[in-house]
Symmetry: C2
Subunit: 187 residues, 2 copies
DNA sequence: TTGCAAGGCTAAGGGCATTAGCTTTTGAGC
DNA sequence: GCTCAAAAGCTAATGCCCTTAGCCTTGCAA
């Protein structure tokens, strides 16, 4: 029996992700998710506590996807090669899912799961920088600078904040080179 | 008569700005603005076309304030001195009004006024870089890199995205130095 | 086979944005 | 000072959305 696949929290997040990718965050409504999953709105509460929690789960999912992709981008590489690969993987993910990225708040303060997922992503960055022999606070600062650059660019690009997209690849290459030079100077 | 100051679009934006500063974007609701201005909700429509337009006006206001402050920060300075002053002024503004900054979308595509205000802000950056003798696309790239850094940091800091705020001043100083070194290399 | 828990549904309440249509105020021109 | 029209306010009402309550069905485990 049970022709129709039963719902689960994961499937709800799937639908929410589709919705965000197609129409942006403001379209993420329980009513729309319910329609997409073929269920009445209140039924979603059997799988998700609230719209707020769904947003949190969405953030966790995105952070996990990013962590996974950055990890495989970096594996087998070291030094400048690894850092450049990480930065390009970051931008590539955001270009594939711009609305999804723009949807994810940088503010994981109220969501423990999301905070944990964010920490894991940062650990990938930290580990990548370890091949430069950085330790302690020096490594923390270097990770922050990296984050500022990749997120700054991604945030502006994903929301169409750059005027014309002309030469954006060049701009990003310059940022990568700037950061690599910076690392060289610090070590 | 008329003890109570009559409402105007500017006063509506004032109230909205207060609301955002105090409680964040999600608290920006026409009902709340109406309460703060001592008026019934539908009366706001005599001054503002919709909640969306109010958000746009808010963005314009913030961009104008930033432009003004950055302009006076930069006036009378040149070269590295000017760039450093601009970057520090940017961060200072965002630290004073973190929620306000986080509220402003990077996406001015649907709002012509906001786009124009953004262009003016970028012109201040461009003008500041002109003392490096940059022209055309080189100047555009340099402006973009600057924007990525200041916005990236501001975006993360304003939404509490850095874990502990420990050493954030140092991190920012390093970013400033990184960018100045980068400019030196490009010229 | 029985019974219970999981998962679905309808009904209903409350908040918000927005529109319609009315009333009051105000100020410009006479 | 008076008139009257536009500006600015209000109440009523609609529709969408989140959320809760309470009920019904299904499927599985004992």
């Amino acid at each position: 029996m049970n022709v129709r696949q039963r719902l689960s929290p994961a499937r709800v997040v799937d639908a929410a992700l589709e919705l965000v990718d197609e129409q942006g965050v403001e379209a993420l409504t329980l009513a729309a998710v319910a329609a997409k999953t073929g269920v009445a709105t209140p039924s979603l509460y059997k799988h998700v506590a609230s719209l707020g929690e769904l947003r949190g789960l969405l953030g966790v999912r995105v952070l996990e996807e990013m962590t996974e992709r950055f990890t495989s981008a970096v594996i087998g590489r070291a030094g400048d090669d690894a850092v450049a690969a990480l930065m390009h993987a970051y931008r590539a993910y955001v270009r594939e899912h711009p609305k999804r990225y723009a949807a994810m708040p940088m503010d994981p303060l109220h969501d423990e799961l999301q905070r944990a997922a964010g920490v894991k992503l940062m650990e990938v960055m930290l580990a990548t920088l370890r091949s430069y022999g950085m330790e302690g606070s020096q490594a923390v600062h270097a990770t922050r600078r990296l984050r500022v650059i990749v997120h700054g660019f991604a945030s502006i690009e994903s929301s169409g904040g750059f005027g014309l997209p002309e030469g954006l690849d060049d701009t990003y290459d310059q940022l990568v080179r700037m950061y690599l030079d910076d690392l060289r100077g610090q070590s």
